[in-house]
Amino acid sequence: MSTDALCYLNISEAAALIRDRKLSPVELTKAHIERIDRLNPEIKAYVTRTDEQALADARVAESDINAGHYRGALHGIPVSFKDLYDTAGTRTTGQSKVFADRVPAEDSASVASIRKAGAVTLGKVALAEFGLGGSPTSLFETPSNPWNLDYSPGGSSSGSGAALAAGLCMGSFGTDTGGSLRNPGHCSGIVGLKPTLGRVSRFGVIPCSWSLDTVGPMARTVGDVALLLQAVAGHDPRDPSSADRPVPDYPAALGGSIEGLRVGVARDYFFRTDLGADPEVVQCAEEAIAVLRELGASIEEVSVPSVADARSAQMVIMHAEAFAYHRQFLRDRPGDYGPVRFRFWLGALYTAEDYLQANLFRRQIVSEVDDVLKKVDLIVTPTMPRPAPPGGDSSPFGTLTGLNFLAPFNLTGTPAVSVPCGFTSGGLPVGLQIAGRWFDEATVLRAANAYEEAAPWSEMHPDL
């Protein structure tokens, strides 16, 4: 099998070969390292590589498997982590000069879980500075979109999206405060899952916004995301937001039919080309909804009355909480921040009343979405109103106004996945967002998997 073919195997495919000793974890890791050598100078997905440790871990995995100690589907699988996840002994920078020399002593909860599952960590991948800024950052370069190097791979988990689309890892972990797992899913043509707030421990992940931050998996297929989620989901008393709920068998939940599943479509907001949604993006989503209908889902019109103001509330909460975390660094070392400092400073402009008003709004939209999800099982939208934006320097404040399809589900904390659903005429990927009930990732993933099997966009890869 060629290096390219090895690197574009799904986790489940590679896992079967590794389990049956037809593929060596060392061979698989070397293939990725060679590909990173070749492509990373252009893609710029990795900011810190751990080649030697990865090869050492792969050798241990191979030895263990040969000795009959196969740990499961992630054993020997090469993965990466957004550079917000603490990695013991390896710098964790938030892609900022502020933390340029920060070397954690302890792994974050997800890193520890993934290591325990036997996966091989290839390194740390790029992000928008501290998970909030745009481009440029104060440390390292900004990644390019493998589908078109002139475009952004999305963010803030930009390196994860770019690395997966370019075949530079088989799974990756990102964070989502205002859409940062789903946005690169949409822009880079991969799958990004924001689990329910509380489902996956945030212990050891540099915060952006305490009440909104969610960590989760990204991969090239829904099945692979289910495998990664399985390894990290569960209660962790070290994270005060962590929920003590049973964890279902996510991979096992994928096989079921979606016959009779009730899918809500809010055309009064998420499909509005007159408000700025791109017609090609909307068309891709409409075609995906038609596929869900053909698969037996019941499509129903729904409405979330205050959804248009979700982004405003999310930004007030996010900026206020981010400013609180960064205040001392901003005061003492403002020159070590890139343009993200402008977004943090916005947090200084809000009063306590503003923050509480935004949280009262949050309660309202939680209630509205809860009402909708009593009538339907899922809400389906285009992941974003428009395809990936051009790369290069972005506005210091990002997009403060306009349509936003991601923030509502950050406020509600409900799970939402982005799964590829087509391409624009310009060759840029488009994602379908599927959101579900609290802690019902299984139904979200089942629907996404059924769609993916019927419309296998994930089998397409960029020509690099």
Partner: protein, 67 residues
């Protein structure tokens, strides 16, 4: 006077608000910050257009264990 008129800061307050938070900005950075002010005002105006009634504790149901 509506709620949002009473509460939303004026553009001329910008430097003072940042200074009170301990932030000292260069004139160039302050100028950039001023460009965000219309959008910030618009966001707050939208949020204060909602009148929330009844139970006012805002954090219920945000984290699952609090629900």
């Amino acid at each position: 006077m509506t709620a949002f008129q009473r509460r939303i800061p004026e553009e001329e307050d910008l430097k003072g608000m940042l200074a009170r938070a301990g932030m000292v900005l260069s004139p160039e950075d302050l100028e950039i910050m001023e460009t965000a002010f219309p959008a910030v005002r618009a966001q707050l105006e939208r949020l204060y257009s909602y009148e929330f009634e009844g139970e006012v504790y805002p954090f219920r149901n945000i984290f699952p264990k609090n629900g």
